[in-house]
Structures are given as C-alpha cells and as structure tokens.
C-alpha cells in the first residue's frame, strides 16, 4: 500500500525526506514507526506524527492512502526538547 509523508522543520534534512510530500510504499500491517524509519528519521529523535490532524503514536497501524505529517515533537514553541 502507499502512504503520503510530509516532513516538517529540521526533519527535512533526513536522508529520504525533503521539502515536498513523498509517497512511500509499505506492506500491509505497517505502522507509523516503519514509515518514519523509511524516510530516515532516527529512533533517538523526539518526534510527533499526525494523520488527518490527529496525533498518532508509533504503533498506530497504517491504512492505504494515509497522509502522514511528521515533525519534531511539539514543545515550548521550539519543537522538540533539549536532551
């Protein structure tokens, strides 16, 4: 199945992300975390994902045609926290 991924802010520098929305092919049963890895965002980054405006967690099961929005975790106006 195919899902659209749009990456915001600093994550655009991830290896397979970019300025525009990209389409990623994934197998049925894939989860949000699989797509995030597919665009090259590391496991150690603080991030949030939304689908249709709703925040979803890493284990959220994807559906064909989902449009994901991936961004640094929303914090104090800076998106993400010092670690």
């Amino acid at each position: 199945m195919r899902v659209a991924v749009r990456v915001m802010g600093s994550f655009r520098n991830a290896p397979r992300a970019g300025e525009r929305s990209i389409v990623v092919k994934v197998i049925h049963g894939s989860r949000v975390a699989d797509v995030r890895r597919a665009v090259g965002i590391g496991d150690d980054e603080s991030w949030n994902t939304s689908i249709a405006g709703q925040l979803v967690e890493a284990e959220h099961m994807l559906q064909d045609g989902d449009a994901l929005f991936v961004f640094a975790a929303l914090a104090d106006g800076a998106s993400s926290l010092p670690e």
């Binding site: 802010g9 600093s10 975790a73």
Partner: protein, 630 residues
C-alpha cells in the same frame, strides 16, 4: 560565601532609603536564588490581602548562583510580585544582560517597596546606589529610557530593567523589560512597577563572584557549549530562527495546538505566513543571544518605512507570533512584527496582549462590543490594522483599550452579556499558545501552579509520549512511563510533577531551558560554584518548596482549589480543524488535578499543602500564613 554576592539590596521608595541585607548561608542553601528568593520574600513580607498597587506590595528581582559566570543560559533573572491580574503570586523570568550586570554590581537580589512621590529610577553599581529623578523619562519607551540612562550615567555597560508607557498606565499585563527585548512578561509586574513610580533599575559593575571550583565551571561551560552541536535538531533550529519555526507553527496548527481566533477555531489558513521562517526570510538581520550564551536564539528583525520596526527591540517568539497573529486571525507578517515591536517598546506581555485583543475581536463579532464601544475601530478577526491600533490604545488606556488593558477576566466582568465565556484566562492570566485540549497534562499545570498559565512550568505532553532521552531524564525525577499526549492518568501527573519541580529548580538556579542542561549537570554547576555538597535531592526538594510557598501565598489571598481549572471553552470542541470533535472531559480533568495535589503532598480535595509536607520542606513557618478556615 561562594557564588553569591551575599547581599540583597532593599530600596524603600516612599522613604527614599536604601538598605542591604546579608542573609546567612543556610538561607542561600534553602532558597538558592531566583524563584526560591521570590517565593520566600513574597510570602514572608507582602502583607496579606493588600491590593497589588498598594505601596506595600514588593518587586523582587533575583538572580542565582550561576549568574554572572561564563555559562550558556545563565544570565537570567526572576521577578516576583503580587499580581495585578490575579491578586496572587506571580513570577516570571527573563534573560539578556541585566542579570549578569546585577551580579557584577554585587547583589543577589533587589527588593523594592513603597511608592516614590515622583518618577524615579534606581541606579545600582558596585560603587554606589542612588534613587534618581526620572521625571524626564516618564512617558518614554523602553529603548528611549535605556539609552537616556546610559547617556546620563556615562556607563557604557549599564543594563536596565524598565517599564514603558504601559507600565506607567498600569496596564495589568505590563511587562518589565530587561534592556530592550527580554520580557518579564507574565503576571503584570510592569504595572506594579508603574504604581511605584519606578521607571527602571539600572545596574553596572565589575565585581566578580568567588567560585569554589573554577576548573569545573570551565569544563561545564565547554561541555554545554559542545552539547548544542550534539543536539542539532533542537539547538540548531533555535540558533537559526529561534522559536516559532514552521514545525511548531504549521504542525501545531495541523493538530490544533496553535490557538486561533481566540481559541475557538485552532485551524488558521494563514499560519505559514507568520512563522519564524517567514519572518527571518523577509526581515531577518541575524540572531543574537543573552550574555555568554552560544545558543543565540533571539531573532533580529528590522523593517523599514512605513513600519519602522527597530532591530534593537523586535524579534517575535512563538508565543508572540501565535498571540498577535493566529489568535487575532492576522496573517499579515509585517503587522504582527510591528505589534510585537510596539509591545516591547511600550512594555506589555505579548501573550496577554494578543489574547486580550482576540477576546475583544470575538466580543465585537458576537455583538457584545459595537463600533460605538470601539470608537469606530472595526475590531474583527483578521483586521491587521485594527489589531495594531488597539495595541496602541491598550498601552495608552484609550477608549476600548482602557477596558482591554484590564486583562480578559476584568474586561469580561465589566462588559457582561456573556463575555465571560470568551475570556481565555486562568485566574486572570491569559492562556499561552499551547492548547490544553492537545496538551492536557500541561493544562493541569496551567490550572494548578502558583503562577497561572505558565507554559514553561510543566512538560509538554507531546514531547513525552514515547521513550526518549527527554523522558529518561524525567524518569530519574519520578516519572514512570511515557504516555500518549491525550492521557491524564496518575502516571501523567507523576511526570508533570517531575517536570514542574525540575523547572522550578531551573528558575531558582536561574538558568534557561533552551540550553540542554540535565539535572545532574545543573546540580554539578551549583556545587562547583558554591562548594556545597549539593545534591539532586536538594534541587528537587527546592522545586517542591517553591511550589508549596506559592500555593500557600495564593490560598492566603483567597485563591482556592475552586479556581484551579481552565476556561469552559477547553471542555468543548473548536469550530473546525483537528479539535472539531474534541474537548477535555471535565471530570477526568478534575480527577487529574486532585491526583496532582496528592502527588505534591497537598490535600487531594482542597489542594492545601499538608503540615507534614511543609515540615518536610523545611518551611513549617509557612503554615502560619494559611487561613485558619483551611
């Protein structure tokens, strides 16, 4: 004593007398500095139930043990007073160069009381302290005041904390500005300063604190400076454009976190036009930082005629872009940046300012305010010109500005006709730009903390929803498991308590959270400066102590658990956008508040710190301040 000057300056403006206190080392170790000092002196010395503009109210400027050292994020001051917005406890922190200069002048705090019979400013150097005439400064902007004082004293390195016309006019959310662009914003301390006829405190000096372990401080500075580059996602973004980048604004808008149209819509079509990225691309002249800080997170913005936005005073943060932009439905960037610049020059908290104007706009659109009330101003959402016009009117308390200058709580009470439902405040302080319907755990902190509606006082739920180094830090302070943003369980409250007391320690040290300090590093810093065997346990206990002192202060002033809530709007959906089917569940929220009380060692129904808790925190004396009915 090492790290500190060991002196607290007291200025009584009524009698025009200056005194110096020299607290003992136990006092310093118990309260450390910053928020610790503020909380102690407010409860000990501000008389019960006086009006915030009573001359006996106090302004407490306090710095910390690390202030004045070449450490990133360590030039910050905490300012406390009884708030004219809430009638309760208030504190806020700001950076810049004033805090470092205060340490170099040889003082750990300045406590001002009384009221001068004519405008004055306080000059504090390592050589002298004077109360000086400020008649010719009255009515001047923040920048004009700062430059005039520098010229008059001949001190090139003079640094100021001052008020603009808004503070003089007792706008209830007036700020005190460190130099020209660092705001002690929340709570309205600027109005209290205005009520004392105090235009500014000007400080300069060359005194340096004795440090127990200078080598360790040097190592710590090197480690912290290097950590910026080890953490490129966070710090690079801050370094390049500051807060309010596309991810925070656009993604925040996508999920409903960024309030728009007075928190009624939270889906703002024009959001991309008012991001930090857009501001820097169109008008950015670079970035600058506070004393000794390499993060340099502050935008330098300059716009030519007809806007005349001054690069020395401007540089909107996320909160400002949200409040003066999205909350007012304004997507014209130049207007938003001009409003931000005016807020800094006149000395107003941009958050309360934007939310008060957004409130006025909704009142106008719903017919509570008419063109006759606004003096013909078409105060509709999205009207950028009207927004700018009202900024001026508020600062000068002209027309409708005089009502909005009271803050949304009082303005709504004055207007009536259902306006209360449109007032987005907690206990009188306007909500920040992080909607509690997306960050409900932070919403509990807004509702419960002594300084209401402070987005820096708790953890943002979206940032601790999975295992991460951030969460691991909190785990070490008492959090248990990462939870979804929407969760309001007891586990979430444990995480919020951990974050809250950590932040209060940070505010006592007084260090910036944009520097990636962890608890151990900051404790190590306090040890290296003071020579004490200071521990993480002491640091977190200090956070609990400050929370309890603030809580007792508010209870004493009649602010009870009944007011520990959020605006009704937060318990319902927005008109469109991600929250159109959402809203906090009131019963779940109330249970979370009760759990938070319990976790803090407060009575789970009344939120009153138990005597055992006060005893444990070494502030048994505070029990005498509790109303007998409690």
């Amino acid at each position: 004593m090492r790290g500190a000057a060991g002196k607290i300056l007291r200025a009584d403006l009524t009698t025009r007398t200056i005194n110096v206190d020299r607290p003992d080392e136990r006092f310093y170790r118990t309260y450390l500095g910053g928020a610790g000092f503020v909380s102690y002196f407010l409860l000990k010395e501000v008389p019960r139930r006086i009006d915030a503009f009573n001359p006996r109210n106090k302004l407490i400027f306090a710095i910390g043990p690390l202030t004045g050292l070449p450490l990133p994020g360590a030039s910050r001051s905490c300012l406390g007073t009884k708030s004219p917005l809430t009638g309760g406890y208030s504190k806020s922190e700001a950076g810049g160069f004033f805090p470092m200069a205060l340490k170099k002048a040889g003082y750990d705090a300045v406590i001002v009381e009384g009221r001068a019979d004519a405008p004055v400013y306080l000059l504090v150097t390592d050589q002298r302290v004077e109360i000086r005439d400020a008649g010719r400064l009255w009515g001047k902007t923040i920048l004009e005041t700062r430059d005039a004082i520098a010229g008059e004293t001949g001190e090139k390195q003079i640094r100021t904390a001052g008020i603009g016309p808004a503070g003089e006019n007792r706008v209830r959310f007036a700020s005190v500005m460190n130099d020209a662009k660092d705001a002690h914003g929340r709570g309205g301390a600027g109005a209290v300063m205005g009520s004392k006829n105090l235009k500014a405190i000007a400080v300069a000096g060359r005194w340096n604190p004795d440090v127990a372990d200078p080598v360790k401080i040097h190592e710590l500075a090197a480690t912290m400076n290097k950590s910026f580059y080890d953490n490129p996602l966070f710090v690079k973004a801050l370094h390049d454009i500051g807060t309010g980048g596309e991810a925070a604004m656009v993604a925040g808008n996508e999920v409903g976190n960024l309030p728009s149209h007075n928190f009624a819509v939270n889906s703002f079509d024009g959001v991309k036009k008012i991001t930090a990225d857009a501001a820097m691309a169109a008008y950015g002249k670079g970035m600058e930082g506070c004393a000794a800080c390499g993060v340099r997170c502050k935008k330098v913005i300059e716009i030519d005629a007809p806007w005349h936005v001054n690069k020395r005073t401007s540089g909107a943060e996320y909160e400002t872009l949200g409040a003066l932009g999205a909350v007012c439905g304004v997507d014209d960037l130049a207007h938003v940046l001009k409003a931000s610049d005016l807020a800094n020059q006149y000395g107003m908290d941009t958050l309360s300012l934007g939310v008060s104007i957004g409130f006025g706009m909704e009142c106008f659109e719903s017919g509570i305010l008419t063109p006759r009330d606004t003096g013909g101003v078409d105060l509709r959402f999205g009207n950028a010109e009207a927004m700018l016009q009202v900024v001026e009117m508020i600062a000068r308390r002209q027309g409708i500005g005089d009502i909005l200058a009271e803050g949304t709580k009082r303005a709504a009470a004055r207007l009536g006709r259902g306006a209360e439902a449109l007032a987005m405040h907690v206990k009188g302080v306007e909500l920040p730009m992080h909607d509690p319907r997306v960050k409900p755990g932070l919403g509990v902190i807004y509702a419960v903390e002594a300084q209401p509606a402070d987005h820096m006082a708790g953890m943002h739920d979206t940032a601790i929803s999975r295992e991460s180094p951030s969460f691991e830090q909190l785990r070490g302070m008492g959090a248990t498991v990462p939870l979804p943003a929407s969760d309001l369980s007891d586990d979430k409250m444990r995480a919020q308590k951990a974050a809250h007391v950590w932040r209060l320690f940070l505010d006592s040290a007084v260090c910036c959270m944009f520097v990636p300090w962890d608890l151990d590093q900051l404790v190590e810093g306090v040890r290296a400066v003071t020579g004490w065997t200071y521990t993480a346990h002491e640091a977190l206990k200090l956070g609990e102590r400050i929370a309890a002192l603030g809580r007792v202060f508010n209870l004493r002033e009649g602010i009870t658990a009944a007011q520990d809530s959020l605006p009704k709007r937060m318990f319902g959906p927005t008109r469109r956008g991600a929250l159109r089917n959402a809203g906090l569940d009131e019963e779940t929220f109330r249970r979370a508040v009760s759990a938070f009380y319990g976790i803090m060692g407060w009575d789970m129904e009344t939120g009153v710190p138990t005597r055992g808790t006060l005893l444990d925190l070494d502030i048994a004396w505070a029990a005498e301040q509790l109303p007998t009915a409690l």
